[in-house]
């Protein structure tokens, strides 16, 4: 590979990309090329329609050969998008790929400015800076980091389950960590799923069992991640396994302990039934729970809380000896190469919109509550009833509760239209109630979704277009007495209506998990302003994050329905597998290095390294930098008081020349 400057002479090739109209529409590309051509050392300066296209790349390679270029600068889009493309092109031309510098004149220039003259001037100075800087570039080699083949999947909802199974089926070892006592997530609470109306349990339960039975999957429920360190291919993760006071290996799921608990009746709100039923301190989250073992709620169990209980559960368990009050919280450390975060969402708290009366009027329920009511294993055994036990004669469904709302959440939760129509159909199926859906827009863009909307219309479900103003219990007419009154501007009819109903169902939207910020920090991810985990690229890298080896799937990335969550989970698993099967990743050679002869051994740099890559060599009395541990932040470089630490790709003189270059105003 030609890495030498012929006779030390720098020969730069400069290319400015039109990106069709994207850049050329705002930047005078030929003028920039002419300007750069005059800078000493620039041998070739061209503008071209699409530099990233094959002919564009070929142009660079040809010039390297014909003009003996030893530096290449391309002004086009963001380096985060195409730096690799052009480095590869430079390498294919026979140069070390790091004799290349990219100038961002699209995202940072043509797309954000409106004055052609100004945008062109900016492009010139940015290009000038790159030309100044690239002179200092040196040949660098990428290092290879091996990838640990195991994967951690965080979150045991449908996304996490699917990702774990996909990886497990491919022969990869997976740790699936779930915070709750059972996997299954929100999907396990659903009765049926749209648009096919197949039963959620029927399609989910087999997958949950498969997880438990899978030889490649280690399932840790009732566990949380507390620490993550390392980097792509080499993560060390500490998992906190909370005591469930029941030995998972020994419990056979007979549930006799629950029956024999000194609490004769359930007393505490059952999480799975969203508080619509009561459970005991010892309980199983739901009949199909995986793992199918009981759990003891430490905040409710008399024995755990006070140590004073007859422990009837122990007696019931007898020689199975599964109940173990001595269990302690345990920290387990595992090593994995990739992490898939599928931590899901939380539902909007309907109390935040007091005018809808949730928490005030008993017959205002949320969609998930209705989901449990309609479910045959739910608290009413599938009967949709009002709080007083009567079946409702009329049901109103309010959409966009906590979605598409400037006062609460601005985003569309994407599933509520379909979810509500599904519930509307189920209500029609289970009762003879009239159902009215209050909507702003019906969004049914998935496969078979519009047809589902049609079906809802045909089944006599009424649709009123308008955001509901309020739900009240005061009557203005005899037919309103004893009912909940929905006040809404019917925007199709063009007037304000009062519609009395027996039951109101609020389609609460999705929100990021309450601890999303903590989780994000744990895995070094970014969040959008709304709090959803940020994908690396909205279109081209939808399950990757800015941290290599950390992928996201399901609703933690943004609201989505089951098919989309599953698709993302599969994609995340595939991304992880791509890394695992390659066996290594190439690391950007932007590491810091110490020039030993220059180092005075002042130790200023040592505590600054977040990766403890710098240590003190007692024999040499100088700092020692382990480049394998260095991630290239450059903090030590900036701090070295004698300028003895340098950074590949970000050398002081490169940056100083860049400063000079960007200030070369024209």
């Amino acid at each position: 590979m030609n890495t030498n400057n012929r006779n030390g002479e720098v020969r730069i090739g400069f290319y400015i990309c039109h990106c069709g109209h994207n850049i050329a529409g705002m930047v005078d590309c030929p003028a920039v090329a002419q300007y750069i051509a005059k800078i000493p050392g620039v041998v070739v300066s061209r503008d071209y329609k699409y530099m990233c296209s094959d002919p564009g790349q070929e142009l660079i390679q040809q010039d390297i050969r014909e003009h003996q270029l030893n530096r290449v600068v391309v002004a086009s889009c963001s380096p985060l998008l195409h730096e690799h493309t052009f480095r590869n092109a430079v390498a294919a031309g026979g140069l070390n790929p790091f004799f290349f510098q990219m100038v961002n004149i699209r995202e940072h220039d043509s797309w954000v400015h409106t004055d052609r003259e100004e945008a062109t001037a900016k492009a010139k100075s940015l290009a000038h800076a790159a030309i100044s800087r690239v002179r200092f570039h040196r040949a660098l080699e990428t290092t290879r980091v091996p990838i640990h083949p195991d994967v951690l999947v965080v979150g045991g909802g449908i996304a996490g389950i699917h990702a774990a199974l996909t990886l497990g089926n491919a022969g990869k070892k997976v740790f699936l960590v779930e915070r709750d006592p059972s996997i299954g997530g929100h999907m396990a609470q659903f009765d049926k799923t749209f648009p096919t109306l197949d039963c959620a349990a029927c399609i989910l339960t087999p997958k949950m069992s498969a997880v438990r039975a899978h030889e490649n999957i280690t399932l840790w429920s009732y566990s949380e991640i507390v620490k993550v360190s390392g980097y792509v291919g080499n993560y060390t993760v500490t998992v906190k396994r909370k005591p469930r006071y029941v030995n998972e290996e020994l419990c056979v799921g007979c549930l006799e302990c629950i029956q024999s608990c000194i609490y004769k009746e359930g007393k505490f709100p059952d999480e799975f039934n969203v508080g619509l039923s009561k459970r005991k301190p010892i309980y199983i989250p739901f009949p199909q729970a995986v793992p199918p073992v009981v759990v003891i709620d430490p905040e409710r169990c008399l024995q755990v809380r006070t140590g004073k209980c007859k422990k009837t559960c122990l007696e019931a368990c007898a020689d199975r000896n599964a109940i173990d009050f001595t269990q302690k919280e345990e920290l387990v450390e595992i090593k994995v190469g990739n992490i898939i975060v599928a931590t899901g969402f939380k539902l909007f708290d309907a109390k935040r919109i007091p005018q809808y009366g949730y928490g005030l009027y008993p017959n205002v329920v949320t969609a998930i509550e209705l989901e449990r009511l309609v479910n045959s294993s739910g608290p009413t055994a599938g009967e949709i009833v009002l709080r007083d036990g009567r079946p409702p004669k009329s049901v109103g469904m309010l959409l966009c509760v906590g979605s598409r709302d400037m006062k609460t959440n601005r985003w569309c939760s994407r599933t509520c239209c379909m979810h509500s129509m599904k519930l509307a159909q189920l209500v029609r199926e289970h009762t003879d109630a009239d159902v009215t859906v209050f909507y702003m827009d019906i969004r049914a863009p998935g496969k078979g979704y519009e047809e589902f909307y049609d079906k809802s219309l045909k089944e006599g479900i009424q649709f009123v277009r308008g955001r509901v103003a309020e739900v009240t219990d005061w009557a203005m007419a005899p037919e309103e007495e004893g009912k909940l009154v929905i006040r809404v501007e019917d925007t199709l009819a063009g007037f304000v209506r009062r519609i009395p109903v027996d039951m109101i169902v609020l389609a609460t939207g999705m929100e990021p998990q309450a601890d999303a910020q903590d989780v994000r920090r744990l895995f070094n991810m970014s969040c959008g302003t709304e709090g959803w985990f940020l994908e690396k690229h909205p279109k081209l890298a939808p399950v990757s994050t800015f941290t290599d080896g950390v992928f996201i799937a399901g609703c933690c990335q943004g609201p989505k329905d089951i098919p989309d969550s599953v698709a993302q989970a599969g994609a995340a698993a595939a991304e992880a597998m791509a890394l695992i099967d390659k066996g290594h990743i190439e690391q950007e050679p932007n590491t810091a290095y110490i020039v030993e002869a220059d180092c005075s051994g002042c130790k200023s740099c040592i505590p600054l390294c977040p990766y403890t890559a710098i240590s003190f060599d007692d024999a040499k009395q100088k700092a020692l930098l382990n480049e394998a541990l260095c991630k290239g932040c450059g903090t030590c470089v900036a701090a070295c008081p004698s300028g003895s630490i340098r950074q590949n790709l970000f050398e002081d003189e490169e940056i100083f020349s860049e400063i000079e270059g960007v200030l070369a105003y024209v």
Partner: protein, 331 residues
């Protein structure tokens, strides 16, 4: 035997300490005198400017000029000696980087003159008399050089070949430099004739420096009984050692005082003050903005601490908002 190489010494805006270094050669001065011919040294010998003017250009092998350039006279002498010398060597911190005199670059000429001739507590000058560049008396004209607005390092006035750092330079590095000069073993033009590794390398306290300084406060030497053996930074004292070129053999730390940075930065650093700031601040043990501010309050005069010997030679050179005032005239 051909003529001995001609050497000259000159001082500009400086305290005289650099001259003392030559005196501190003690008996070694004899060796130097044997090897060279000193043709101009106003401090010690009676030569006049006209003697220098009479010398052919480049006839002096080397001039060691100390002191910053503040007046028109200094500027003129610097140019004269530049013309007459093959090598012009900036000798000492003031010539190299502006030195202590260049701390005056924080003030305008007017501010300085007003303070010195009117406001200083020891001054009695009711007539508010100020020096003038020219004064007539009894038919005679007495002149003074002009006092410039800006204090400059030597290389901001004339081309400089080499730098010998220090306030003052030690006899050892001076002798080494003269030796190299006589033997023709000079490094590339522009070099600083001192080691290019920071002072910690030579510091007797080096071993006592902890790996994690984690500053929780900064103190000034008079505020604390200094442990004579422990790294001064570990005692919360701002020591410029990590950002300062070695070569003095850590005279100040050895004398239980922190390094104040007189040898200037290493060749890899453009701005000594910025670098020590970067290193010290990064190592503050706080994440709270207010606490950080409180800790930094222990350094009340950052310019004076970080740029004690090099404000003129720093990236900013001078308080940027200061005016350039016209030549001072009789009030």
């Amino acid at each position: 035997m051909p003529d001995k190489p001609k050497i000259s010494f000159y001082w500009c805006s400086s305290c005289g300490g650099c001259e003392e270094t030559v005196v501190d050669f003690a008996e070694d001065i004899l060796g130097v005198l044997e090897a060279v011919d000193i043709v101009f040294w106003p401090v010690a010998m009676d030569f006049k400017k006209k003697h220098v003017e009479a010398m052919p250009d480049k006839s002096i092998v080397a001039t060691l000029l100390n002191g910053a350039i503040r007046t028109s006279e200094q500027e003129e002498m610097a140019r004269l000696l530049r013309r007459k010398s093959q090598y012009l060597i900036a000798y000492g911190a003031c010539a190299q980087l502006g030195g202590i005199p260049s701390l005056a670059n924080q003030f305008s000429r007017g501010q300085l003159l007003r303070y010195v001739y009117e406001e200083a507590p020891t001054v009695v000058n009711e007539a508010k008399t100020r020096p003038r560049t020219s004064f007539q008396n009894n038919g005679h004209t007495v002149t003074l050089p002009e006092f410039r607005n800006v204090v400059r390092a030597l290389n901001q006035v004339v081309d400089v070949d080499f730098y010998i750092p220090g306030c003052p330079p030690t006899p050892k590095i001076t002798k080494a430099a003269i030796g190299a000069l006589l033997e023709g073993k000079l490094p590339p033009k522009g070099s600083v004739l001192a080691p290019d590794v920071a002072l910690c390398d030579q510091c007797p306290r080096k071993a006592s420096k902890p790996a994690d300084l984690g500053f929780t406060q900064f103190k000034r030497p008079h505020q604390v009984m200094l442990d004579p053996n422990l790294c001064l930074l570990a005692q919360g004292i701002v020591c410029m050692g990590p950002a300062t070129r070695g070569g003095c053999e850590a005279l100040c730390p050895a004398g239980n005082m922190p390094c104040t940075g007189c040898f200037g930065p290493t060749s890899r650093v453009r701005d000594q003050g910025a670098k020590i700031l970067s290193s010290l601040c990064a190592n503050i043990a706080s994440k709270d903005e207010k606490e950080i501010r409180d800790i930094l309050a222990g350094i009340p005069d950052p310019v004076g601490v970080f740029y004690r010997y090099g404000l003129a030679g720093s990236l900013l050179r001078r308080k940027v908002s200061l005016p350039v005032e016209p030549d001072q005239e009789t009030p």
